[in-house]
Subunit: 209 residues, 2 copies
């Protein structure tokens, strides 16, 4: 086992250190966030979306104002709505390409050749190629003063999914939908199911369901 | 494609809805968080840890005060330190079993048969069986008033990893370390690498590295 102390880490090259730290939390979600400015739709890959609570149905994500996602933050502040669209194996290259620094009034949908899809009157497009997607309403922005990032809290609105991925217990089989996971900023993975474990109780053996 | 509107969702059974919402963000990280009270060490599986920034090296996670992790929150508030330990394939059952509601003064390490490991004078134990692990110092607690959860912001201290998982660019190969990912609260997955994509630039083709 190797040790890297805080002091040793702080002396490392900035980019090397960034990659190291970014892989530490574990596997991350891979979503495409769509927003709209007056001039164009915008689409950006985001690996920071996380479950915040089911009742009310909340999701959080982190935006770095100095990153290519800054357009997304601007749009969100203006109209307070966005869509999140799971990235899956067949669109991994297009999804990654949205992280390129395109000019603000250019639509990443057009640049990476993903199609806009408007559903049920929501003003922000979804990604047509995405299988699992949902609309979000922004509730609040929290500034993380420790590093100048912004945490966005949203409430989930409408949800769209292929009918064969909804399981009996209500959960969505994101593995079957080929939803990706990512480590760091650039290494993508598919998943292999180990299984589902029973609800854990003291003094009761777990079962694989 | 099926649609579930916000109105339809709110009429669903509470548990069914919780499972649905919990699978929407995508794949989640699987860590074991260790803390210490005056009476015992505590260990709990946590799927909400997320990367918050590399410089300074920050990590965030969400704690629900009414959940079994409430002991963890209490301990953190008292001494402000914890360890995070990646869960991997060989310890998936023990990791899941830590989510059982044991009495507060009982050590989940003992109950699920994972070993405590003290490293470099840090007062909180690591999980000996875990391959990738790090110590954390709590910086701040943010109350998410929308649902009464607590977001904890921590700074990464020392990092421990097997020497064969550190890649040339500084990132840690968490796939090689068999780090797990989870969907919802109970369905565990291993990963299969698709590949690493080059840094995206406008008008430049991506390469698989």
């Amino acid at each position: 086992m190797k040790t890297l102390t805080k002091n040793e880490r702080e002396k490392l090259d900035r980019r090397y250190r960034a990659k190291l730290i970014n892989s530490l939390s574990g596997f991350k979600s891979v979503n495409l966030i769509a927003t709209k400015s007056e001039k164009s739709s915008n689409l950006s890959i985001i690996s920071s979306a996380f479950h915040l609570g089911a009742d009310p149905a909340l999701m959080g994500f982190i935006i770095r104002p100095d990153s290519v996602v800054r357009g997304t933050l601007k749009n969100l502040r203006k109209n307070g709505i966005c869509t999140l669209n799971h990235a899956h194996s067949n669109i991994v290259e297009q999804a990654h390409q949205t992280s390129a620094r395109y000019p603000e009034n250019v639509s990443e949908f057009e640049q990476v050749k993903l199609n806009e899809e408007y559903l049920d009157g929501f003003e922000i497009p979804f990604v047509k190629e995405s299988k699992i997607k949902f609309s979000l309403k922004m509730l609040r922005e929290i500034v993380i003063q420790e590093n100048g990032t912004h945490m966005i809290i949203c409430e989930i609105q409408n949800i769209y999914y292929p009918k064969d991925v909804l399981l009996e217990d209500g959960s969505i089989d994101i593995h079957k939908a080929e939803t990706l996971t990512v480590s760091g900023l650039d290494t993508y993975f598919e998943t292999t199911k180990i299984g589902k474990l029973s609800y854990a109780k003291p003094d009761k053996d777990l079962e694989w369901l």
